[in-house]
């Protein structure tokens, strides 16, 4: 169920936005609107739906309207047109008193340049949201101290923000946002001002906290790598319009337009894409102990390799050649389960970067398992490398470099 529902939100900045909106609806472009009316189009008919408990990333370059969009959620900016529902409540219909309560309890925010109050200590900053709520000092400080600990700043409670590094300051910002126990966390380019190493630490910490606390996070960034790393869903914004909304693999593999394609071109796809995005169902899925039946099945399917499964549990891989050889052995009775070679396997959520070396060393498509050992599918190095090439560029050159699977049956198993 969608927690935040944004419906056709349009924002025009200027002295008479309503009149400008009318002109815009009549077909003026963004540039014409600015030239003829002096109004700037911030957002144009943006519709989104954000699910409870996910990290939703809004990505765009500066001027794309992403910061404007996030400020609509807690109405730091009012839209010119459209509707915003949070948990079924129309945010735009709130009175200023209701809006105050909404901001104090339901949504909190982390800012690009931290937005810390320089005249307050770390503890006082973290407790700010609670102080605004009117919570008693002792209770407030207890809670603030807890959250200062959670973000790993214990011992810095009585420091002032200016005495801390950028990364530490943003941890204070994060703790302040978490301290109000708000269900929704808005993060406006929260990590953009930090240097790369600190940034990736903060990303890890955010993902950890998210898993632990189950917050719904709306994260703004101009950095696609960051978006792909932390986002469950990504919305790409350009000139106030939504280009595409999708999961990271969807964005990478099927960019909606040239703009998105341009964006994803430079991404390290091997790091972002996981095995389960490219795996296919195994063609020859063998069950039962009977080798003859299995061989028959593989011949019927025309498959060189078969994957042996016992009650959904993966047991191993085998080839036609090997089974035929076993059957020619006189007198011997073999069990398919014992005959199957365990061989290398891949985890479904492993990044291609990690999976590719194993796949290149193996002749047959590798089995992909989930954490409980269930066979999810198979994937070959050829399939992996085909998705590593950005969609716009030609496929050939990449296949030459990366996937040259030695498809000789000898290399099978072991």
């Amino acid at each position: 169920m969608a927690l935040i529902e944004v419906k056709n939100v349009t924002k025009i900045f200027g002295s008479n936005p309503k009149a400008a909106l009318k002109r815009y609806r009549e077909g003026l472009s963004k540039e014409e609107l600015l030239a003829q009316t002096g109004h700037t189009l911030g957002l144009s008919d943006v519709s989104l739906s954000i699910t409870r408990g996910e990290i939703f990333v809004v990505m765009g370059l500066s001027g794309s309207g992403k910061s404007t969009l996030i400020r609509h959620f807690n109405r730091l900016i009012d839209p010119t047109d459209g509707q915003i529902l949070v948990d079924g409540t129309d945010v735009l219909k709130m009175s200023s008193r209701e809006l105050g309560r909404f901001r104090r309890t339901t949504m909190s925010m982390v800012f690009q340049r931290f937005g810390l109050m320089p005249h307050r200590t770390v503890l006082q900053n973290v407790g700010y949201g609670l102080a605004v709520r009117g919570m008693k000092k002792s209770e407030r400080e207890d809670r603030a101290r807890h959250w200062v600990g959670v973000v790993g700043l214990s011992g810095y409670e009585n420091q002032y923000p200016t005495q801390l590094s950028g990364g530490m300051q943003q941890r204070v910002g994060l703790a302040r946002a978490l301290a109000t126990d708000a269900e929704i966390l808005l993060m406006d380019e929260a990590f953009s001002a930090l240097d790369p190493l600190i940034r990736s630490q903060m990303q890890d910490q955010l993902i950890e906290l998210q898993a632990e606390l189950g917050k719904t996070i709306v994260f703004i960034t101009h950095d696609l790598d960051e978006a792909l790393r932390i986002g469950d869903h990504i919305a790409i914004l350009k000139d106030g319009k939504l280009s595409q909304v999708g999961t990271p693999p969807e964005i990478l593999l099927t960019p909606a337009d040239d703009y998105v394609a341009e964006f994803v071109r430079d991404v390290n796809r091997a790091r972002v894409l996981t095995v389960d995005t490219v795996m296919k169902p195994p063609k020859a899925r063998l069950t039962g102990e009977n080798i003859e039946r299995a061989l028959e099945e593989m011949r019927r399917l025309g498959e060189q390799y078969g994957y042996v499964v016992d009650n959904d549990r993966y047991r191993g891989v085998t080839s036609q050649e090997r089974l035929a050889e076993l059957l020619t052995e006189k007198g011997a009775t073999h069990n398919l389960y014992t005959v199957a070679e365990e061989g290398p396997t891949l985890l479904a959520d492993a990044a291609l970067e990690v999976a590719l070396p194993t796949a290149l060393d193996t002749a047959y498509p590798l089995p992909v398992l989930d954490e409980s050992g269930k066979l999810m599918g198979v994937v070959s190095s050829r399939e992996m490398s085909s998705v590593l090439t950005p969609p716009k560029a030609a496929n050939e050159d990449a296949t030459d470099e990366k996937s040259d699977p030695p498809e000789s049956p000898k290399a099978a198993a072991q």
Partner: protein
């Protein structure tokens, strides 16, 4: 009866008079202003007197305290104040010595009178100036409305408003305080306005995003962060109040200004000089103390990125 001169004769004789409408606008303003002042005196004279009395009582009370306190205690208190503001012993000793020096000039009593007027004037300026500055910071319309008045208050010669002030409040300290307030409040209003407007946008936005009410935002974020600028404004107000003491003495306020005035009237350059030295020393004392307080307010108040 003489014949009226023809239009052209008048034009050639007295072009200036005709062109400037015989100065009727000036006459009209003068008459209206006088009538207005008379109207105020006749209809609201009692109220003005009551206001004047209250203020005078406060002023005399403060003056009595300053003059009643043993000199050594007063010096010690000043030293403590300087130390509290700056946490520097040298400054504390320096201002104590400076004030002793004023006494050594033979102007202790006058200095106390001047300080009393200055403190009362600055307190009124603060009470009026800071709220006005907050209003102008919050509303561009209020700012554009109030700004011309501030310009006027700072440029119009003080004698212009001293004339009606003396008529309404009588000679003495009260019109002096009033003139000082009019002259010294504008910088405080401007600096309060500027200070609040320059509070980091993101910090104010953060406070808004956490659901702070306007009052919580003002008292918890905007005023504390604008405090260095506000302190600078108070410092400026003090300095301008001291700059007014000679003019104030012309309408009967006593104090070091009077010393200078007497020097002028008696052609006594030496007396003028010691009065001047005393004023400068008082200015230095209050400047250093309020600057130090401002600098301490500055600590931790700038946003680091």
């Amino acid at each position: 009866m003489e014949e009226q001169p023809s239009f052209f004769e008048r034009l050639s004789d007295n072009f200036g008079d005709w062109f400037f409408l015989d100065g009727t606008i000036g006459t009209w303003i003068r008459k209206s202003a006088n009538e207005f002042v008379r109207f105020l005196i006749i209809n609201y004279g009692d109220q003005f007197e009551a206001f004047s009395d209250t203020l005078l009582k406060a002023l005399i009370w403060l003056e009595n305290i300053l003059e009643g306190t043993p000199i050594v205690v007063l010096l010690a208190l000043l030293g403590l104040l300087a130390y509290a503001a700056s946490r520097r012993v040298t400054l504390a000793i320096g201002v104590m010595f400076a004030l002793w020096f004023v006494g050594a000039l033979g102007l202790w009593e006058q200095a106390m009178q001047t300080i009393a007027i200055m403190i009362v004037a600055v307190m009124i300026s603060v009470l009026l100036g800071i709220p006005t500055g907050i209003v102008t910071a919050r509303s561009d319309r209020a700012r554009s409305l109030i700004n011309p008045f501030l310009d006027l208050m700072q440029t119009i010669p003080s004698f212009v408003y001293l004339i009606p002030a003396v008529m309404l409040f009588g000679l003495g300290k009260i019109p002096a305080v009033l003139a000082t307030v009019i002259y010294a409040t504008p910088p405080l209003i401007r600096l309060t306005d500027l200070g609040i407007r320059h509070v980091d946008r993101e910090v104010v936005e953060a406070s808004r995003a956490f659901g702070a009410t306007r009052w919580q935002m003002l008292t918890g974020v905007q005023i504390p962060l604008a405090l260095p600028a506000i302190m600078q404004g108070i410092n400026q107000t003090m300095m301008m109040a001291l700059a007014m003491v000679v003019i104030a003495s012309m309408i009967g306020a006593r104090g070091v200004g009077e010393t200078v005035l007497l020097g002028l009237q008696r052609n006594d350059a030496g007396q003028g000089l010691i009065g001047g030295i005393a004023i400068v020393i008082l200015a230095i004392i209050f400047d250093r103390i309020s600057q130090a307080a401002g600098a301490r307010a500055q600590k931790h108040r700038t946003v680091a990125h």
